[in-house]
Symmetry: C2
Subunit: 368 residues, 2 copies
């Protein structure tokens, strides 16, 4: 694997010095910003995450700040999900689609006030989409990227570590809700959320200047909990069926295909972009869907391409979009898009891996 | 430096197998796609580029295809540059700005027909901006990202190599014009353009399937010209003053600050987005401007941060955004944004490099 060459264009984060000091071994680039991919090994990082607690620099989940009288109207134009009952203090996972119903991003929406939101984005410059929609529709809002960098605390000991730093009340924050907590005289939004199935929090670190002090304090307080630096873990996220925008779905896919139909409320989201294009799939369902794929054989190679899913006769009926070896489940765990003809739980298929054809089974449930 | 970890999200190109086989040593990510940064060393790659010919995989210059009755109107909304005299067969460098006049991208526009363009983009998801503008303004056009991947042939022997593969007529293509040339029964747009000052062409490879055959044919035909795989070279581009979006300018900067005022025609580009915000600077000029900076001392370290430019007393009067050692000019060449108070050619300033303060000189001309 080639090295990644530093440049200002591929942005550092407020925690990059900490990530480097903790011995990061692999990087990727996400929203034009550095994101660690592993520290020890995918396997070791995964096992540690499931047992202890990790601090993740996920600054690359950039925020799009929206504030103004039309903020609520804008948000309902941006997503087919019904936001009418969303309250201040709540987070919501929202599909954002284009006029053809294709996924542009799958962010978490954070409601800060009746007229103020953060859109915490996956890997696409959704800021440009939002700014241009505001421009075209003439919404009365301000839109900008604030200096806010999420730091995720994930793992079974996350509550214990966070209580040490932010006080016992942090334990009362419910899933996909946030509280505001003091740190160095600043009020930080801290939500119970994160890109793992091990539980934990995301601290929206407001101001790069307090990034490293907070990082250091979390590591000092976490010593007894065996804290380590971590990052979204390829194995754990595939086992848990956490989708990755750009890997498992692109603008070629509708929310229904991505299993996100439950987040589309077309009967109420009347003015949302893409509603018209999504209506037929809302009625008849999609013709392909994301599924768990259990792939037999030796540990699969690391992949940067979609692998065809085929019938015994070689007809393509889908593709594998993320795959890795799971040590806990002793198999190759994968996420793929599968045609309706083969998406029933337990269907036997084949996967054309770079090192040859393998037997595989389509599953409706992930490894959770 | 940490390795870059493969994933489908960080896209391969039609030429990635070729780039790998040629021994790429460094990568970056550009438009969510792999881009090589060096093969031997920045220095060796640079010296070779100036003497021979190189084949560059610049697939990451993705195309935004625009086609339809309103294509021309849309393009004039997207840029403050006057496009009225642009003809089919022409390429134009266009600033694209937001409603505040901030740079969103600095693409090359390729006019394919009266109702059809490619926007060949720098590093931001401009596709989302264009699609949302079309949505908001209700323009009658189709907008999509086609399977078109530029391959640049750069260096003093570029004409000789290209004539071997595409015929002698290629020599007649003028700067920032294109011709259409046959390859494997497909008609390819080939422009005299590219991100170096050494001359050459960009082949808009239309269809991933012909990528590696063309790559291989160029290397076979180029043997006598000492052809090598290359990529945009950090040293050569700074010496030549070629700006990099995300490094030397961001949405914080206007075209006037970037020295691109000559590409803004506010008196004619009446309906263009950002025109109102740009008018004051069009009249009075900007308060800071991009300049060449000559930095004294030993070879500078590789940088991923802007370095402050300061007065002797320590007042910040600008920042260095790209910097490297030039062996040809035996100094540290840099690009920076400098306040009006210090932008006159020959002004002595200081640069706060990570390894200490250095003397520097502001220059109006780059090293060309």
């Amino acid at each position: 694997m080639a090295s990644i060459v530093p440049s200002r264009r591929v942005r550092r984060t407020p925690f990059t010095d900490g990530v480097t000091a903790q011995g990061v071994k692999g990087y990727t680039v996400y929203n034009r910003m550095l994101l660690a991919t592993f520290f020890d090994s995918f396997h070791y990082d995964c096992a540690h995450l499931k047992e202890h607690v990790q601090v993740w620099d996920v600054s690359c989940e950039r925020q799009i700040a929206v504030r103004g009288p039309d903020a609520k109207s804008l948000m309902q134009v941006l997503t087919p999900r019904d936001l009418r009952r969303m309250v201040v203090g709540q987070c919501m996972y929202i599909p954002v689609v284009d006029e053809q119903g294709g996924m542009l991003n799958d962010p978490v929406l954070v409601k800060l006030a009746e007229d103020e939101y953060w859109i915490s984005i996956a890997d696409s410059d959704l800021l440009l989409w939002v700014k241009a929609i505001v421009q075209g529709y003439d919404f009365n809002v301000e839109v900008w990227e604030p200096d806010v960098s999420p730091l995720a605390i994930q793992g079974p000991k996350a509550d214990d570590l966070m209580a040490r730093v932010f006080g016992e009340e942090i334990r009362d924050v419910r899933f996909f809700r946030y509280g505001k907590f003091q740190y160095q005289n600043r009020e930080l939004v801290i939500a119970r959320s994160g890109y793992s199935k091990q539980g934990g929090f995301e601290i929206y670190v407001d101001g790069s200047d307090i990034g490293m002090p907070l990082w250091d304090e979390l590591f000092a307080a976490g010593e007894e909990f065996n804290v380590r630096a971590g990052c979204p873990n390829l194995i754990e996220r595939i086992e848990g069926g956490l989708l990755s925008y750009g890997n498992d779905m692109t603008s070629e896919n509708t929310p229904y295909e991505c299993g996100l139909g439950k987040f589309c409320n077309l009967e109420t989201a009347i003015g949302s972009i893409g509603r018209g294009a999504l209506l037929p799939q809302a009625l008849t369902g999609p013709s392909q869907m994301i599924r768990a794929i259990d792939i037999a054989g030796e540990a699969t190679p690391v992949s940067d391409q979609a692998w065809p899913i085929v019938t015994e006769g070689g007809n393509k009926i889908g593709q594998v979009t993320s795959v890795t070896r799971s040590f806990e489940f002793n198999t190759n765990v994968a996420i793929g898009m599968v045609d309706a003809s083969h998406w029933v739980d337990g269907t036997n298929v084949f996967v054309e891996a770079p090192d040859g054809r393998r037997e595989a089974v389509v599953k409706e449930k992930f490894w959770i």
